[in-house]
């Protein structure tokens, strides 16, 4: 690939490795703490760990590459956008505060022995997370590309 030097390749690899570690750490390095000692659960745990690290590898390569390439080939010239009203000054803080609050509430629910009703509630909140993320992307899009 043109324009990439040794230092760039090193940063690329580092970006991939960091993503690999983050993904692994989020999933407790492929451990399922609630499983008990049994040959069945050993098989299940082994397959889960294997699948998790395979997914981790795929995630790390793609996400690490996206992060590296978007920084390495970012636009260097500045562009100015004229808007009549800058709604982002209100919308963005509201969305970010709502997102932070939602993550805090979710953290109260998440524990290894969560019952099915709790899992449903967490699932609903995670759906709201996605909704908020979509709203933030929409606001940014409207601000700069409309």
């Amino acid at each position: 690939m043109d324009g990439l030097r040794g230092r760039d390749y090193a940063l690329w690899v580092a970006s991939v490795l960091v993503m690999f570690f983050i993904f692994a750490a989020i999933g407790d390095f492929g451990n399922i703490p609630y499983l008990i000692k049994s040959p069945i659960s050993s098989d299940v745990a082994y397959l889960w760990r294997l699948t998790y690290f395979a997914a981790d590898g795929v995630f790390a390569v793609f996400m690490g590459s996206i992060i590296f390439l978007s920084f390495r080939f970012r636009a260097t010239s500045q562009t100015t956008v004229k808007t009549e009203y800058d709604y982002t000054k209100i919308a963005m803080p509201v969305l970010i505060v709502a997102g932070a609050f939602l993550v805090y509430v979710e953290s109260l629910f998440i524990n290894p022995s969560l019952y099915i009703s709790g899992q449903f509630t967490v699932g609903m909140m995670l759906a709201f997370d996605l909704f908020l993320l979509g709203a933030i992307i929409f606001v940014v899009y409207k601000a700069y590309y409309d």
Binding site: M1, I32, Y34, L35, I36, K37, S38, P39, I40, S41, D43, V44, A45, Y46, L47, W48, L50, T51, A54, G57, V58, I116
Partner: protein, 148 residues
Amino acid sequence: MKLSRFFEISTGVFAAIILIVLGVLSFQGLIAIDHGQYFPHNETPIVIRVIAKQYVWEFIYPNGTISYDKVVIQAGKPYIFNLTSADVIHALYIVQLGYKLEAIPGWNYPMHILVNEPGVYDIYCAEFCGPGHYTMIGQLIVTNSTAG
């Protein structure tokens, strides 16, 4: 071959390798669980008949004793849960084993159980079986093999 072309092809090849390896290992694990390959050869497994009904688990021990929503086994000993259903399709899900098996009317499916850790574990129905589905909860009680 250009480097970009190599990466493009290797993406597909690595994805295929990962899927094949996971598929083969999963199949091996499934065969082991399905046939109880981990059972000790010198011990005969105890067969417990499990009949799923709306909305209760019925466990019938070899001596004829019937227990509802609760089954007691000994740690480290092999058991076969012969699973069937008396009405609609259910699924026996032992959460802490990470394993579930369908209970289908007219069919008997063996579930090869061997638990090494005493404790009380959750049993859920993992197949929507009617309005009372969420109440179909049982317990697997694993006692120490030296007790009693």
